[in-house]
Symmetry: C7
Subunit: 90 residues, 7 copies
């Protein structure tokens, strides 16, 4: 079973905060409360959004944005484009 | 008697949470309070919406979205496009 | 004297809840408080609305929507398109 | 001196509730508090509005809509299009 | 020194209520609190507004609208188009 | 170092109230609290705004509008077009 | 790892207030509470924004705008175009 986000939403798998690492690691300032980094699992039906976000992208999003869902015990969020702050590139 | 949703709304039959199942089962995180998964019974009059949602589709929607109606003892909701989070594909 | 609703409004005659009937009867979940089903008596001046709603149609509308008026002792409501949830078809 | 309403407003003379009459008489449900029926004295400068509303038309409007003015001891209201609920036709 | 209102604003000189006069005199209902009639001294930079309002026009405006300024001891207001209710014509 | 306002903003140097002067002097009614007159030091990047406002113009603006900044001990404000009430012309 | 802001956002490195300096130094009035000056590290995906803001630009932004993130112990903000007040040019 697959989850296809509607319109300009993305489905993200929540990523643990990667703290205490050497250089290049991003820690959302407010991450102490709730992670706000995620890996995109599926991109919505909106054509314009697909030009900017691909499956596998890591994104930052506002910690109050999105709707929580659980799939096989893992935490996911469905997030609207307006809550996506940035894409993390390697 | 049929219910034809107006504009960009859909009529959904509420689905029980399919918990305790093996792989591939989605459980809305907040489902303990109220199910937010439904099967589309009828799609609204909006032409654009019909390109994305068909009768029989299973959808996820925000738990505070939609208006409740009862038809022959079963619970239904009429939900606007902006409250549809995702389509579940097999 | 006729009532011509302005713009995208309709004039509806409030319908009693048709409870305790066999199959095919719709009862708004919240109907215990106030009926939200009505028969369209007149459609507004908006051309686009006329393509979707005709006189005689039965519609469902949000229970807080619309403005109440009384005509010859019967209850009517004037309802905007955005409060029309669905059209009931036989 | 004439009052020319600005943009999509109309100037209306407030009409007394025509209660206790035989068939065909409209009484706003909330008329006990304040009349919401009026005769159009002047239509605003908006060209589109003029296609729907003429001087002499009787209209229904939301009881909280409009601004009160007094002209030679009579009560008038200046009402925006969005507060006009319906036109009453003979 | 001249005051040129910005965009769709007008500069008006506040007019005293012309009460106790014979026929044709307009008294804003709420004028007991604050005058809401004014003579247009200058029209803003907006081209569309100039088609409807000219210098010297008397206008009615919502009593909470506009910003007060004082010029040589006289009271003026700068009022946006959306607060202009009507133009008074002789 | 120069301050280039973004989009439809202007940078203004706050002007002292020019009270007790003879004819032609404008005193914002509420100036007792805070000056709302300023001289434009820089106009934003918005092309349309440049047609109406030039460096050196004196403008009136709403006293709650704008963001305060200090440059070399002088008070400045960055003000959006929607808060500019009028341009003062000699 | 690089942070690519989404849509019309920029990533900025927060700059210390440069107080007690000679001429030409800008101190946001409210800087006592929180710095609101930053150096642009990355510009968002929005094509129009790129015409106005470049990497390396120093900008002023509203102190309540933006989302805080931390990267390798340094404070950053992700700021939307509507919160960018001005660009500082040398």
């Amino acid at each position: 079973m697959k989850v296809k986000p509607m319109d300009d939403r993305v489905l993200v798998e929540l990523l643990e905060e990667e703290t205490k690492t050497a250089s290049g690691i991003i820690i959302p300032d407010t991450a102490k409360e709730k992670p706000t980094m995620g890996k995109v699992i599926a991109v919505g039906t909106d054509e314009d959004l697909k030009e900017y976000i691909k499956e596998g992208d890591k994104i930052l999003f506002g910690k109050y944005g999105g709707e929580d869902i659980t799939l096989d015990g893992k935490d996911y969020k469905i997030i609207q484009r307006s809550d996506i702050l940035a894409i993390l590139e390697d």
